[in-house]
Point group: D2
């Protein structure tokens, strides 16, 4: 595994716990973790339970005791590591966004396909029971023809103007701000649930243009040093969308929605029903069915914690909720299944490419002030 911060911890947890709850048909061995700061990566290896560590990803990919490389380092290093790993014949799981540009993403996809390895992108929210249930209902036609898709990803950690200039706020490392970090999730969920985008038009803004530099540029929590630096990514990006199936969409991602901590919300309205989801209450799905008895139609809140719900039976009895990190356990479970049974893992790098296409189309629309068709990218 390459990366040992927030995502490194979440992914490590998944490898550690997956066998406790899922029948894998394989044994997970957490062989090696990799990072450039030796002291930090050594500590991470110990705390997270990795058997060894490396400080250079090139050494990691050369090791013959590894089948799978998990890449969750900052976005700007994804490309080199993923390509090296794939060329070395390793299966690869990469954090989103796949790359800093569509061109890079396409190169990564081509390389992984050429190498014949499994390639997955960690759109973890697809793997929540409530989201999987939404997918089932839509695929079964339970909400009919889709009219509207409405997505919000609302956080507020940048409202404080003294929050430091973390790597996520620097274009050369993060690629973009709320757009690539948050809209990437929303775009992928929309594609997963209702299909591909046709065209988009957007707007974005950086509300606070300078922030204190952290002493070391290595994490959200780093203290400011007093010196100011430029924020080079968007604080918020919103856009209108039209889908190939005729649905209309609205999307908004922001780190300035005071009071919202991790509100990844979507609502889908169809001719026969509606579906609502909020990540802060990820064990619940709200649905409305227009074909129920007229007197008792209403949005219902489903506790997606029963044996009949996707993944839920692997955890606890009904009503005993799961948390954010469980989505990663499901990702790892599915990825291991795809390797063990030699079947495709979805979402793969092609989904990463498609997501990147929409992200860049929105960026282009912001530059030109007009609609952009996805197929033109």
């Amino acid at each position: 595994m390459v990366g040992y911060k927030f995502m490194g911890k979440a992914h490590s947890h998944a490898y550690k716990d997956v066998g406790l709850f899922f029948d894998l048909g394989a044994q997970v061995r957490m062989q090696a973790i990799c990072g450039r700061n030796e002291a930090a990566v050594r500590e991470a290896a110990e705390q997270y339970g990795w058997a060894s560590y490396e400080t250079d990803y090139r050494r990691l990919v050369e090791r013959d005791d590894l089948d799978l490389i998990d890449v969750n380092a900052p976005s700007n290093v994804h490309k080199d590591i993923v390509i090296a790993a794939a060329r070395a014949g390793k299966h690869v799981l990469c954090e989103k966004p796949l790359a800093l540009s569509l061109a890079d993403a396409r190169e990564m996809l081509a390389t992984a396909e050429a190498a014949g390895v499994k390639h997955g992108i960690c759109f973890n929210y697809r793997f929540l029971p409530a989201v999987q249930l939404a997918k089932q209902l839509i695929d079964e036609g339970k909400i009919g023809e889709i009219y509207h898709y409405r997505a919000l990803y609302l956080q507020d950690w940048l409202v404080d103007p003294k929050a430091p200039l973390a790597w996520r706020l620097q274009r050369e490392i993060a690629g973009s701000g709320a757009h690539g970090d948050l809209n990437a999730h929303c775009i992928d969920l929309a594609r997963f649930l209702i299909g591909d985008f046709d065209c988009v038009v957007g707007q974005s803004k950086t509300f606070v243009k300078q922030r204190p530099k952290p002493v070391e540029m290595s994490g959200l929590t780093a203290k400011g040093s007093g010196e100011m630096g430029d924020v080079t990514v968007d604080d918020t990006t919103s856009f209108l969308a039209q889908f190939k199936n005729g649905a209309l969409g609205t999307f908004e991602a922001t780190r300035y929605a005071t009071g919202w901590k991790n509100g990844n919300l979507f609502e889908i309205n169809g001719s026969k029903g509606s579906i609502r989801f909020n990540l802060e209450r990820l064990n619940e799905l709200q649905v409305y069915f227009a074909d129920e008895e007229p007197r008792t139609q209403g949005f219902k809140t489903i506790m997606v914690t029963e044996d009949v719900h996707p993944y839920a039976g692997h955890w606890w009895p009904p009503g005993h909720i799961i948390g954010y990190e469980h989505g990663f356990v499901h990702v790892v479970y599915e990825l291991i299944q795809s390797i063990v049974e030699d079947k495709p893992f979805v979402p793969d790098f092609s989904d990463g490419v498609e997501c990147q296409r929409v992200l860049e189309a929105v960026d282009q629309s912001i530059e030109t002030g007009s609609w952009v068709a996805i197929e033109d990218l």
Copy 2:
């Protein structure tokens, strides 16, 4: 109409508006309002739209231009006025609680029955669309056999120890405190929805035993005079209950539930479903049906504002909510229908008597520390 305070205003509004929304088959004429304070009652007559006023209820009941007497003065005067009105051959609508004692309530019922007049008790919450819908669902067996009835009536206007010693806090006028004022509603709703009580055991408490006397003893809003007086009613009363149909119940009424303004809540659990209601969101009913498709079972929130819902079609389009006072309009509509068509009005004084029986059984259980059977009263 006798009474011109909070309830006088609510009832006046109902008589004034009922014809705007309902086809009555009769013309409502607001002939006379009655109260002891001439200046106040004159002003009320003008503001509320009554054609004349009286300062003595005995003169009122003698008038031959009145068909219906509405009694919403404080509880201690209900009995005399109601009996006089019934004996004068007037139909009577009386605010709850019907009387200060079970004996009085029974006398009022007997008198009204002997006089052959329509007699109604203003349990206005029965007449909300959501409560009517709950009744329909239960009667149709949609929630099956009833296991649990859970009722709360939560207010907080007495949390402030400087709130004055209003008439509602004096036993000789109000009869009791939260018990008679709030539990009376909960008991009636339970009887309406699932049937009669079998036995009860309760507890009660007066948290703040002295309060400043108002300058005049005439309303909740009166300013304190500085002098302290004893609170002679309960601040809260809660009780366990067993129903004749085998269901178990819990009831709690309090004026010390900080943060709750007018939370009249009930939840009913049956073998096939559940129902929830909260008066602060009176346009909504929550239901759960255990026979729906397993993956998509959940509590649903019904906006009870459609044509298919009781009374709702008389008001506004779907989703355009109604307020607290609309329940009184429905009471008045039904009462006028019962007079015009000469059919019984429900709830009548016998419901007032039954409610009083349960209230007094709880009081008795508090004195004895043991369960009391309703049939022993």
Copy 3:
């Protein structure tokens, strides 16, 4: 009053009830109602309590026993009636949208100003206690600098493809569909709460392009005749917006949001807090304050039913909720106050004009596929 359908009923109720709850300094006399269908208007006069009726608005405006003309007939007749009334020296209250075009709206404003009469536009949602409270908090700086304004107006009455081709679906009568009917409210609320728009870009769609013609073209509830007609307005319109104060906005109005009956929602995020509102729970306002004690920050749900809240003290005790129609009572109260005290009424026709400008800018952006600056209209 001109108009006797849904809005005619809501306005009539307001004139009838305002004196019961508000001290007006004037007597409201409901002199005359006007409509082209004599049988219908006669019945409306009787049911709603108007002393007389007219079948031609020209006769109405000539009467010298009227001070105020209330225009709530379909949108395409607003202009002629309003101009005639203003020229006759009558104060005018007009339903929204003010006119079918910006040019018409400007002419109406100019005429009313020249005539020196009070002119009001019935943006009734401004007058809800919760919305007024939101306005207070924003004006006092309680939520700081505004970053985001997010508005949705969600209904579902057109999801049924057999719903008839009502007048609201015909461009020549209604002007536009969800846009003029619903976005008009959202735009006005945004202007009221955070100020003027700078530029917009939008999208719209008509999902169901033909619908059964009603037997008579006179109401939402008319039965279909079997013959099909073209829907000539939008079923949904959404747009991105930038405000003069630097905030970004997203707006969406639709009649295809299955499950939503009358969901007029907004959320405002500022540097110090956030505010949320949903018309289906109009007695509540949700607020978040970022300067509260860190451990106990959260969105709070305020029951806007206390004496300290705008208008609420005129109605019932805390927690006793009001309904949709109460907003009209407040409009009428404020309008009467402006006449009695000879002070401006807000919102007036200039607000109608500004709303129309934004509506048309969105329409233009849809035609051109690019951003449109409001000041260019």
Copy 4:
């Protein structure tokens, strides 16, 4: 560890993960798991990650490579195992309820105290961030003097009359039904949050008196065998309570609350504020403060996921929620801290005894039909 079912899995997970998120000052070695069914316990050892297994707890407690014995087998075997472990000088963590009777619980407490070992009872819900925050607020006086404590524990897994006769439905194994299983949690939370009980009066009922026997009597999920057996525990128990601090309480536990999966709810009303909690949304706490600015008082929903909240900083960024099992991780963390630092662990067996006292007092009150003082047991 003794036990390998639902609780065995939850506890195993806690030992496995605690070091990933908490700095322990010690290394957790999962040495041995114990159960009577060798095949099952061998499989559990492998799946959960225990280094060895035993089939007789007497052998387990003799092993000198164990410092701590965790007992989560069915309630009827707690006593013997715990006493053997304590006498062998092992620290002990025991699942609730501590024992089948108050006498047994007292004997276990005395034995553990005499042995000088750490003894903990696994009231895991105390250790949720939201519950810990509630405790902080109450202890700091933020909600003032306590008036009301209202607790519900609502499940619905027995509504289906074909659900099998699991061990939790047999008195000789489980001790009691909803009372010991669910009210035990509610009683402990009440004691933790507001202090000791003074007296109680209750009611209980078994709605479905016979159920199909499972083929083997070993789990909730076992299939029925066709033969019927008697349910010998309560399906529901509710009770009124008075606390030593003067507060009044209502408690209700049921497995027949259709629609509720694991609704462990409490609400506390005090003179200065209120607190609400629902286990199905365990990352949230609702609070109301009566001393906030009057216009903006309301119940606020706190996402208890920030660094300033108890335990939350050990997990994920704000808004990234945790699940049911995390409470056990906190229990294990605190227990290890108490061993490493040789300080008391709370809740210990004395809390188990106190909980048992209240449970038995309620049982006694049901037999006698009258109030029972806790101090009489």
